[in-house]
Symmetry: C2
Subunit: 157 residues, 2 copies
């Protein structure tokens, strides 16, 4: 078998989906996430929110006066990593840091009116992006997928 014949086991061919990696959940999660994430960024555009910023704003809107520690825990990231995100949202006028009576270490995060409006708009865009991107799947499939992903996430608790 020459080198050219070996390459005729063309890794780009249709049954490329039979290698070991195709049976690994982690690998497939990563590849699927890359697709969703790239389209998210494309949809929201340059001036829009990065996924992690959108997530943070989402929770700040839904949990008024959430603290940074709580938010970091909910998002599954380190507190230090949240600083730049909150700075960004604060600088854009979407979030304010408020002192908390009774505990001078803590700041409560509150979305501004502009922040809520921006969030609603972004949320609609994000939902539309997912709906369109996944339109080749049935709503039932999407629900099943979410359920299974949540099942994985039970490990977090």
């Amino acid at each position: 078998m020459t080198i050219r014949q070996k390459l005729s086991m063309d890794p780009q061919a249709a049954d490329v989906r039979t290698n070991d990696l195709e049976d690994l959940v982690g690998y497939n999660l990563k590849r699927a996430y890359v697709i969703l994430s790239a389209d998210f960024k494309r949809t929201l555009g340059e001036d829009g929110f990065a996924p992690r910023v959108f997530s943070a704003l989402s929770l700040i809107v839904q949990y008024p006066d959430i603290t940074q520690s709580e938010l970091a825990r909910m998002l599954g990231i380190e507190r230090s990593g949240l600083v730049a995100i909150v700075d960004q949202l604060e600088q854009r006028g979407f979030v304010q840091r408020n002192a908390v009576p009774g505990d001078r270490r803590v700041q409560a995060l509150m979305a501004t009116g502009d922040g809520c409006a921006a969030y609603e708009q972004a949320r609609a865009s994000v939902e539309a992006h997912e709906e369109k991107l996944l339109s080749h799947m049935t709503p039932r499939d999407v629900e099943t997928l979410l359920g299974l992903l949540r099942k994985i996430r039970e490990i977090e608790e």
Copy 2:
């Protein structure tokens, strides 16, 4: 409602799984992937392969003489990003770059005997890590999940 009463809508409470983010596929994919990835790294340990290196070795073993461009395409990454990965595998004696007769630009990647052995060991570890991590899910659930993730990945083609 005081600030303390607001915070009694405890974001850490059991029904935290009802916010907007919980219905987004992208967000859940990311969170699930972080879990799988962290456990992968824990399982293979410091001297083991990072997920992306494991993935590359996997395909090199299964597609002997694959070129770097083909490999990059299959993994969904840029050619330049693959150089460091292949360098690492080559340096550890797991992979060799071979000239291809007839096309002097191309190098065919071939796993060495050591590389194949290391891969088989790692593959077994990876499979065991997933089996254990996902043991709270039925095999059918895992199969369904893989199917749905593959459905998402159809977008890639």
